[in-house]
């Protein structure tokens, strides 16, 4: 089967568009437990895809396969139509995939600039090039519309939950990334901060990035998602434009794996 055939047979309203990331028949098991079973998924560019599922549905495992932390047992991945093997986090980063984990992976004692450049510091001979890093971090944050932090040099410990999420997202988009995966970005946030993060997700899309949001919060799903995919017990049970779903159908898919609606 050629790539063109696959594109034509893809589900949903993708048309002739080549998805940024295409997963086909992803299997993953841990010992006797089958975590993912023949999962197909398309993540189109410039769209927000919500990956929904109850606890234990396989959302995290699928994320880790995309991030290169786990390797799928079977199945294929296509990046911009090209067959790829993601064997580690560095492979994923090289393609332009960045994952923002639920714990955000920020060092509380470092400031915003230091966190955004952690592990990829710019150097001026043997010393850190603080000026250039501060300017770049500041531009990225401004580009994402994050203007609520008092100072870019304040320690991350002094930020609110929403601001921390924003810093983690800004850290992810700094590196010419094309796909940003957000793991439960609003799980620990209040109403105002959730709104701020969802605005941020929309702005990522406006910047031309593909976004995958992993969540079981239906408010978030219908607020930002262009497409919805639902996992149930390791199988993908639904995928399509958000307009094809309503709350009840998503809940049905998440809890029983099927929907009458």
């Amino acid at each position: 089967m050629t790539l063109a055939d696959q594109a034509a047979s893809a589900p949903g309203d993708l048309g002739d568009q080549v998805p940024l990331l295409r997963l086909r028949g992803i299997d993953k098991h841990f010992g006797a437990v089958q975590a993912l079973y023949k999962v197909d998924l398309d993540l189109p560019p410039r769209e927000v895809t919500a990956l929904c599922g109850d606890n234990g549905a396989g959302k995290s495992v699928l994320t880790r396969c995309i991030a290169g932390i786990h390797q799928a047992d079977h199945g294929e991945m296509f990046w911009e139509g090209r067959h790829v093997n993601i064997r580690g986090p560095r492979d994923a980063a090289a393609l332009g995939i960045e994952v923002v984990y639920q714990d955000l992976a920020l060092a509380d004692n470092l400031d915003i600039v230091q966190n955004m450049f952690l592990g990829r510091e710019r150097m001026h001979r043997i010393f850190l090039d603080e000026d250039s890093m501060e300017r770049a971090a500041s531009e990225t944050l401004a580009g994402l519309g994050v203007t609520t932090v008092r100072s870019i040099r304040q320690p991350v410990a002094s930020l609110s939950g929403g601001q921390r999420q924003a810093v983690a997202v800004a850290k992810a988009v700094m590196w010419n990334s094309k796909l940003v995966v957000l793991d439960e970005p609003t799980a620990a946030l209040g109403v105002v901060q959730t709104r701020m993060v969802l605005d941020l997700v929309r702005r990522l899309k406006d910047h031309g990035l593909a976004v995958m949001v992993i969540t079981h919060n239906l408010n978030d799903v219908f607020e930002v998602a262009d497409r919805i995919a639902v996992l149930h017990l390791g199988r993908k049970v639904a995928e399509g434009p958000a307009a094809q779903f309503d709350r009840q159908s998503v809940v049905d898919y998440m809890t029983t794996g099927s929907s009458d609606r």
């Binding site: 509380d108 952690l118 320690p155 929403g162």
Partner: protein
């Protein structure tokens, strides 16, 4: 306090999201957790923000400085004016140097949330190796080669502890406790049956150079000239850096604060040189000038500050201390950074060993390495370094070392018996850890309330 914060928020012209979302108290904590020097635009604003932070528990270096003042006043009264006499203050500086360098050694590992209990006996081994190598009859090596070999040996011990801790995941407490015993034994082996060596010969050049590190003085005029040069370089560098950052629109402290920092540095330098340049000798013999050990420790401090604040290695040490998982996911090699931190701790303990050798004019099997390492940890913690990792600065060891040195010196002046010295130092250490824990609890409850 609330009013000061309100002014602060108005001053920056921004509305924090936290302010809108959270109840009043946690938001106040959020504002307080922002260091005032990065948000204040004038010196007055900085001082108001600083004051509001202090009153809400983020005390910074204040307890140490106040503690030093209290100790100085108390001993000055108790010793009827002897404590603050120039001659005694120079003694105090000299005694503090060993505590300061040991404190710096501990800071490398404390920043990672680890501890190095072996440092006291690594000091003793460093002193013994350097001392043995300049003996004549004996190896009679050049003094600089003796120092290098001693420091390399101390660094290697650090590499061993660091490898065990970072690659085999053994607890640093146990590894370096074993290291304490091993190095104690190694010191006894090196010093052999005689049990003591001396480097106080005035004829043998290699011994005399080592001896002069602590007991040799810079001529008073040269001291003033050196201070002028160092203070000039420091002022110009700091001012051009801050002014440049302000001009380019980067985060920088207000000009008044930069000037204040320069003023403090110059004043401290003038005070030290002025005190040291007073004749502290007996009637027949003039003894004056800054002991060489002061610039030596200053240079060590400067190098370590640059390493920790301005290089990748230093950044990674702080990152690992703050959140090891984040560091790992950022692609940082935790084992190699951890191992190097232990190596640097070993080398710095070796430096304090060289200073100890010079101070005592030799070394013997009586070195109480167990007590010294605790003084080193105490110096770091009293200075404000956290035992839980991620928070602390090398310069804090200087203040902490001065506190330990002051207690040691004052009680010694009064001929207080050693048991009371131990008790007094222990109480100060408990006080320092208490402040660390309370301020940490304060900041933790603040951040958990905000999430």
């Amino acid at each position: 306090m609330a009013q000061a914060e309100e002014e602060l928020r108005k001053g920056s012209g921004e509305v924090s999201v936290a302010a809108a979302a959270a109840p009043v108290d946690p938001t106040a904590a959020a504002v307080d957790a922002v260091p005032p020097e990065i948000v204040a635009e004038t010196l007055g604003e900085y001082l108001r923000a600083w004051f509001s932070r202090v009153t809400s528990g983020a005390t910074g270096a204040l307890p140490v400085v106040l503690g030093l003042v209290v100790i100085a006043v108390a001993f000055e009264i108790w010793t009827q004016g002897l404590f603050l006499s120039p001659g005694n203050l120079v003694n105090l500086f000299i005694e503090s140097m060993v505590f300061m360098t040991l404190g710096m050694a501990e800071i490398f590992v404390l920043l990672l949330g680890e501890i190095d209990l072996s440092a006291g006996y690594v000091l003793a081994v460093g002193a013994a190796i350097a001392g043995i190598l300049v003996q004549k009859p004996g190896p009679d090596w050049p003094w600089w080669l003796a120092i290098i070999v001693a420091l390399v040996c101390c660094g290697v011990t650090g590499a061993v502890w660091g490898t065990l801790v970072s690659r085999l995941h053994l607890p640093s407490f146990v590894v370096t406790l074993a290291g304490l015993l091993i190095m104690w034994g190694v010191m006894l082996v090196i010093l052999g049956n005689a049990g003591a060596i001396s480097i106080s010969s005035r004829i043998l050049v290699n011994q005399h150079v080592l001896y002069e590190f602590v007991w040799g003085n810079i001529p008073p005029l040269a001291g003033w000239i050196a201070l002028a040069v160092v203070a000039g370089i420091f002022s110009v560098t700091l001012w051009t850096r801050d002014a440049g950052r302000r001009r380019r629109g980067l985060v920088a402290p207000p000009a008044g604060l930069t000037a204040l920092k320069i003023g403090f540095f110059v004043a401290a330098g003038i005070a030290v040189v002025a005190i040291c340049n007073v004749n502290r000798g007996a009637v027949t013999q003039v003894v004056e000038g800054v002991p060489w050990v002061v610039p030596i420790v200053f240079v060590v401090l400067l190098i370590w500050v640059f390493l920790l604040q301005r290089t990748k290695f230093g950044r990674y040490v702080y990152a690992i201390g703050g959140n090891p998982d984040a560091a790992r996911r950022a692609g940082i090699s935790l084992p190699s950074v951890r191992t190097w931190a232990f190596v640097l701790a070993g080398v710095t303990a070796g430096i304090s060993g060289i200073l100890y050798l010079s101070w005592q004019g030799g070394t013997s099997t009586n070195v109480n390495g167990g007590q010294y390492v605790l003084y080193g940890v105490a110096a770091a913690v009293i200075g404000g370094t956290s035992l839980f990792g991620g928070r602390g600065k090398v310069a804090q060891a200087v203040l902490g070392g001065l506190v330990i040195g002051a207690i040691y010196n004052g009680l010694y002046l009064q001929a207080v018996q050693v048991q009371w010295q131990l008790i007094a130092t222990g109480l100060v250490l408990v006080g320092a850890v208490l402040i660390d824990t309370l301020s940490r609890r304060g900041s933790l409850s603040g951040s958990s309330a905000r999430i």
